[in-house]
Amino acid sequence: MTHAITDPIGEINKFDFRNEERYVYKARKGLDEQIVAEISALKGEPQWMREFRLESLKIFKCKPMPQWGGLIDIDFQEIYYYIKPTDRQGRSWDEVPEEIKRTFDRLGIPEAERKYLAGVKAQYESEVVYGSLREELAQRGVIFTDMDTAVREYPDLVRQYFGTIIPPADNKFAALNSAVWSGGSFIYVPPGEQIEFPLQAYFRINAANMGQFERTLIIVDEGASCHYVEGCTAPMYSSDSLHAAVVEVVAHRGARVRYTTIQNWANNIYNLVTKRAVAYADALVEWVDGNLGSRLTMKYPSVYMREPGARAEILSVAFAGPKQHQDAGAKVVHCAPHTASRIVSKSISRGGGRSSYRGLVRIEKGAHHSKSNVVCDALILDPQSESDTYPYIEIEARDVAVGHEASVSRIGEEQLFYLMSRGLTEPEASTMIVSGFIEPLVKELPMEYAVEMNRLIALQMEGSVG
């Protein structure tokens, strides 16, 4: 289905608006112990978290920059690590400061919440400015709050898991996040609870040179299930901003978790995110990861299958337009026998963009009867664009079945010809082929998101032909 876009320029710039910077608190630029201690003090954090941050900062300083993936040109001293937009978190949209509320109105969040969401968090710069959860879910023991509140109100639960799935020493940007994190979601779903509607978080960067470092922790207890959706946008500034999130997910025995991301950052944001899930016996973890925005994305959602019967499904879709490099992918690690995983990656490069699939399938010793299947397809739409595929397969067990296939091609002349013979113009036909190409992603999205996704693809495709 294609949408008639009456005002493509207006549409494509829909998220490119900025508000005047009016903040309750803005830490000075740069990164050192003092800033980290200041963030911790402002948040009134317990001793252990303060130490965790300072220790992470040390790790960050001695870790080298990754020597692979995209070119990261960041001056860490030129970034604002903490900006507090408001004094308190709103429980209803009316309590949110007018200007910020208008932002989220324009992004359609309150409307979506009324329609179909079970809970919403909206983060503006460093802090969550709005949060809600359906009454009835709270009564069932479901926790959906921002990470800062969780540290205060659920210290035992947080301390048990925080930083255990992704330790600060995992990589340079995980260490950075661990040092300066602020905001993000905390979800706990008690045993057996099924949440039918998605929980949603919306991340917005407004200030220039802003670093957003949200930290999300999702714990789904035995036999429970939940679906979490996040969206991200930012306006264009002439200087670059950084988004380095850490997302930890724990799926206990028999649990099901689905984590959906539609990333549509402006084209000057470095999006360097570490996402990892642990799946215990018979649990299912699904990552649905759509990357449309940012200047450079390096993100490889991963699942560690720790007990028999655990499963992982990862769907990654990347669209690299002009001046964009999407270095996205997926990692699955089979640590236990009888585990299964599937990775589907779709990428599109156009207008000089570069999309890379980078992935890992690892089967540990003793993880017999594991199965893994990886399919990567890439479309290159014009001669300026580039595509790479770097899958790593490491196997240390015998009774396994591992398959990987990948292909790179252009839009088929025959497909175009066929559609044009049916009366479509070339741009329409191309857009339709691309839409069909990413169909597996769109199919997995909640309806409203699917519609939005199709619109975004149509926008990305504007001017791609001719």
Binding site: E386, S387, R398, V400, A406, S409
Partner: protein, 460 residues
């Protein structure tokens, strides 16, 4: 630098000086060797921090176990066996571990033992037509060949400074295969070269294979260890191989290594295929304690084609790492790679492949496939296919599979009256059949298939 200490025995500047003096080679070559030696001295051993070496453990490699090759006079098969070292079995033919040597008619044959030439023949018919087939060190001193070699060495495809082992091979290569087929000469019979390594020796080689416009040839090169009476001190091989297939030429090339499992094998192999030329390259990897091979194929002219076949079988504690690259520099080129591997015991296999398509190489058709069969609970395989595509009108695909022997297939074979062991043999051989079928040289196909069959132990 601390690592200088490790050279005390064999790789000292004095020894290199001595090596050069004894060889009395032309100045341009000595100059190249000296330059490469400086690179060798400067470069550290590859570290596990380097992506290409991350999976290959060199900690047990010791320079002081080996030394620079010492040039000896030409010897006969018989005298060498008699002279033998304490490890060599004088009763066994020196070429006993060679798999592909055949009785059929050959265009030429070269047999080496380390840096010594045991035998060298080239049929008159081809010699008269300007074909060269001889040890590279002898070719340097022969008539007609040196200017050719100088020309190709001046514009080498291999990169000396890629790593320490390449630099060593470039500095101190003792011998190697030189094949030159002039324009429009189509050699029907195969050329055959075999090299046997004695225990404890270093085999440093450089090979140059040139097919001029519209020529045709088949070359089978194999390397093995000498038969031994007791386990010897192993060996070191560093090799550079350079292949150029000229416009419209056709080359079938087989390289098989069947060294003992105490040999360190480091090789850099580069082939360039010009317009309308075709290369069929079959690689057999059965031996070595540790093998690290970089095999690149460059397609440099329209309608160039390359087919690369790999047969790998690892056992015991072998570590075999093969890195392949199919580089499409221009459009309308085609490459097709298939590597099949089986693993027994605690072996470790790495295959890392890359299809690279340059920006102007539209209409490229490239394929890459790696299948692995794991026959033991303790083996490990890393399979890393890759695509780097800079053109848009292309068809590039790769596939990789890893699995075990299918119980149902074994059961089926057993119901047909085979013992379980025979059944597994049949299934494993069946796994390799796809790649064996692509080898168009009957004797090579049969010998490889026999070698695989011998390797398969009961693994249920």
């Amino acid at each position: 630098m601390t690592q200088d200490l490790t050279y005390t025995r064999g790789f000292t500047p004095q020894n290199f000086e001595h090596f050069l003096t004894k060889r009395a080679e032309p100045e341009w070559l000595v100059g190249q060797r000296v330059a490469a030696w400086r690179v060798f001295e400067r470069l550290p051993l590859p570290s596990p921090q380097q992506e290409d070496w991350r999976r290959t453990d060199l900690r047990l490699f010791k320079w002081n176990a080996f030394s620079l090759p010492e040039r000896e006079a030409e010897v006969s098969l018989e005298s060498l066996s008699a002279e033998g070292s304490e490890f060599v079995d004088p009763a066994m033919p020196l070429l006993d571990h060679v798999l592909l040597r055949q009785d059929g008619s050959l265009a030429g044959e070269v047999l080496f033992c380390g840096d010594r030439t045991l035998k060298h023949t080239l049929s008159d018919r081809w010699e008269r037509r300007g074909v060269h087939f001889q040890p590279l060190d002898q070719a340097i001193g022969s008539r007609g060949a040196p200017s050719l070699i100088e020309k190709y060495f001046a514009d080498a495809l291999v990169d000396f400074s890629r790593d320490k082992f390449s630099a060593l091979a470039a500095a101190a290569w003792a011998t190697g295969v030189f094949l030159y087929v002039p324009r429009n000469v189509r050699v029907e019979e195969p050329f055959y070269a075999a090299s046997v390594m004695l225990p404890g020796s270093s085999d440093l080689t450089r090979s140059l294979i040139i097919l001029e416009e519209n020529s045709e040839a088949t070359l089978v090169v194999e390397t093995a260890s000498s038969p031994v009476v007791k386990v010897g001190p192993g060996g070191l091989h560093c090799g550079l191989t350079e292949v150029r297939v000229g416009p419209g030429a056709r080359l079938r090339l087989v390289t098989l290594q069947n060294w003992d499992q105490n040999v360190w094998h480091f090789a850099q192999q580069r082939a360039q295929v010009a317009e309308q030329a075709s290369l069929q390259w079959t690689v057999g990897a059965l031996g070595a304690r540790l093998a690290k091979v970089d095999q690149h194929v460059l397609l440099t002219g329209p309608d160039a084609q390359a087919e690369v076949n790999g047969v790998m079988f690892a056992e015991a504690r072998q570590h075999l790492a093969y890195h392949t690259r199919q580089h499409h520099q221009v459009g309308h080129t085609k490459s097709d790679l298939l590597y099949k591997a089986a693993l027994q015991d605690q072996s470790h296999l790495v295959w890392r492949g890359m299809i690279r398509v340059d920006q102007d190489a539209q209409k490229t058709d490239a394929y890459q496939r790696n299948d692995n069969l794991i026959l033991s609970d303790h083996a490990r395989v890393d399979s890393i296919p890759g695509l780097e595509i800079r053109a848009h009108d292309v068809r590039c695909t790769h596939g990789a599979t890893t699995g075990r022997v299918d119980d149902e297939q074994v059961f089926y074979a057993a119901t047909r009256g085979l013992t379980p062991n025979e059944a597994v043999q049949v299934v494993v051989l069946g796994f390799f059949q796809q790649v064996l079928d692509r080898i168009t040289i009957d004797s090579v196909r049969e010998a490889l298939s026999a070698a695989i069959t011998r390797r398969i132990r009961r693994c249920l």
